[in-house]
Symmetry: C2
Subunit: 287 residues, 2 copies
């Protein structure tokens, strides 16, 4: 780690730690969001999850101090330590720039909500409500078994049905919807035979309100398909142009909302779908 830092040159590189009494996923998510606002800097990131005893809090602080000495740069710490004793021990021993994600908000929220927080450890990504957690796992299994039009059974259970040409991003998006939001998301490929018929796959007739389309720039599609089947007609730019054109035409005709996944992340696509289909679900699926 230290080597890495030195190679990359002191000044521009900062070492960032995600310290948590649980998974550190919240700390990491927020930290990466904040750090994305700063340019011209490189970050070496280290996760320190499950810092759930005073001993571990001391150890973590010591390790971080070491890195500070070795790199000559003050480490940056994003901490979600909740328990007062852990946080105060950590802060007492740690010579770093520490940003406390929870403690900044919990106080004001206690006053606003009129109830004390329990300062308990590792709540946020535990299995909270078992039922909701099971729903999430169910959604993942449902999505896997309804990937790529595998089956028409139980399609009425689907909360989202993604359609689009092969390799337009349906599978990762479906899985993200299931994983993050506990949404049962099926996906259906749009195939040349559908274009010949000029209609959506018949299985989707009664699900219009839950269908959302993904399209993609033919150039990008050809690139993606070529990695799988180089020099195939399937991957040829000409064929990709044809399929994308036909798919978009069909979605327009059928009045299906769609977006282009070309330059969008799974998260952006998913958030847009939830918004367009007016699905309001909390991400807190026992995560």
């Amino acid at each position: 780690m230290v080597e890495e830092v030195k190679e990359q040159g002191k000044s521009k590189v900062r070492t960032v730690f995600f310290v948590s009494d649980a998974t550190a996923i919240t700390a990491e998510t927020l930290a990466n969001s904040v750090l994305a606002q700063f340019h011209g800097l490189q970050y070496v990131r280290w996760r320190m999850p499950f810092i759930n005893t005073i001993e571990k809090a001391k150890e973590a602080a010591m390790k971080i101090n070491e890195v500070g000495k070795e790199t000559g740069n003050r480490p940056i710490v994003f901490s979600t330590l909740v328990a007062g004793s852990l946080a105060s021990t950590f802060n007492e021993y740690c010579n770093a720039f520490v940003i406390e994600l929870f403690r900044s908000f919990v106080g004001p929220l206690e006053r606003e909500l009129g109830v004390p927080s329990d300062h308990s450890v590792g709540k946020s990504h535990e299995i909270g409500d078992q039922e909701r957690y099971n729903k999430r796992i169910e959604a993942i299994n449902y999505t896997l078994s309804h990937d790529d039009g595998q089956t028409n059974e139980g399609l009425k259970e689907a909360e989202v049905i993604l359609v689009g040409v092969s390799r337009s991003g349906k599978t990762p998006t479906s899985l993200y919807l299931a994983m993050q939001y506990g949404i049962k998301a099926a996906n259906y490929p749009l195939l040349p035979e559908d274009f010949d018929r000029g209609e959506l796959p018949p299985a989707l007739d009664n699900c219009r309100d839950r269908i959302f389309g993904l399209s993609i720039a033919p150039e990008r599609l050809s690139q993606i398909r070529s990695e799988r089947r180089p020099n195939s007609r399937y991957a040829s730019l000409e064929n990709c142009r044809y399929e994308v054109h036909e798919a978009q035409k069909m979605m327009e005709n059928e009045g299906i909302k769609w977006l282009s996944s070309t330059s969008k992340s799974i998260e952006e696509i998913s958030a847009t779908i939830l918004q367009e289909l007016k699905i309001n679900v909390s991400a807190e699926m026992g995560m």
Copy 2:
């Protein structure tokens, strides 16, 4: 929405909004983590993503104010609005308890890092580095094609190989590792024939350092399997006891690290695996 609030009774229910110029995933993640600290309250959660113009910022504020009036409770807003103009417009119009997740930290960080933040919109869940993003999609595809021991091809590419009896949580965990961390995670079922042989599947001989085991309480396993195949020998408590016992014995004998997934969330399992296998990856896979 408002109905829902009233039904549940004013006092105990607070309406929470996640306001973002992008996906609102960061706001939602941190908000849920913080709110998990408070008990005896119910929350109605609403996501307001892509608030990326002054107009939309005003609209959002107005909608939130309405809910405040209708519910008689001051709404709680977790905002990741970055652009100063958006945030200040929103704050000017919004009569809610607003927690600004970024603005609280960006200032101090600017001073610490010695560079200004660009206050630009929607950075954190965009496709940042295209290469890293592709790596993540690749990981998802790899994990899907290496689920449940489908193939031994390319196993040396796997960064994590999960083993465990059928329905012990291998698939959701593998997918989470790929989705969240861009890790190529294969998974391999431990089957009765492996127990008879008393050894791991031969395909795994050269991957010991990347193997991690999942176990589960026989009672829970029997419950899960029964949903799929009620009254089957496969789901019977007796058989589940046998398989779990044999699997744990084998993992012990083979010196494979394992944990029980019974009461752990996918996130807790994944974070533990990364820690145990000493894999340090940033979650910022272009997310």
